[in-house]
Amino acid sequence: MGQRIRASFLGLGFVGIMSTLYLGLLWAPSVANDAFESPAAQRIFYWHVPSAWASFIAFAVLFVGSALWFFKRSPTGWRLHVAGAEAGLATGLMTVWSGTVWGSAEWGTPWDWTDVRLNTFALLTLLALFLVLGRRSQPDGVETRDTFSAFGLFGFALVPFTYVATRFWVIRHPGPVVATGNDGSLQSDMALVLFIGAISFTIFIIGHILTSMHITKLEQRVEMLQSEIDKGG
């Protein structure tokens, strides 16, 4: 896919993300003062929720890529695996960062080790970190790719578990505010900003995944050229 298309996704996504920030800070209504300990800090959720949404997309890409490599030996599958792991790490870290900052303001503590949602999401982010660092530290080969793909396949089980965690165990992390099965607990203006954020992060992460796949293709080409040189041209 062309450089112009990748740049368009990234640019459009970035503009949308910045628009979400502007709308979230200056246009969206405030929450009731008695509903939160720190009502101002609640506005972090206009990026926190979309970045968590984007991370789930990234982990789905990681799962599909891992399956395509593991069962079909597809080069595109491996590129998807690499791109999904990198995007999952970046968006996962953003989600954890914004969550801990909000937790510090709202709960008085950045983390709660008894909360299921927090810990399963942290495990997902650590899985992405392991895959990204592992791939960079290990020589590329069939066995290495099989091992990392197996982690990508089994690690995906944490995604639905993380998604439903707050429906079964509301400990610290708030329960779901969208897709709740009733009219939802969000005001329409807040829901609109959140929706723009989710669309923008989705477009942005698609741009990053396409770019990351292109980079992996370039790395593979460098390896091919180097092996040609090693053989004597």
Partner: protein
């Protein structure tokens, strides 16, 4: 810290994260393209699109 301070720290951290992530991706891409151009020019080669590991794996499975 006040709520607005937490909000500022939270958003600034994420903006820095997005900037580093995007810059790293573009820097890696440019660096690799420059390396490939230099090697291919010196070898007089056409573009090589294949994934050597996938090729090796396919050959092993055929044998």
């Amino acid at each position: 810290m006040e709520g607005m301070s937490y909000l500022t720290v939270g958003y600034l951290g994420m903006i820095v994260g997005i900037a580093i992530w995007t810059w790293t991706v573009f820097a890696r891409s440019k660096n690799l393209e420059a390396r490939i151009y230099a090697i291919e020019t010196s070898l007089g080669k056409e573009d090589i699109e294949a994934d050597s590991i996938a090729l090796k794996s396919a050959i092993n499975e055929e044998n």
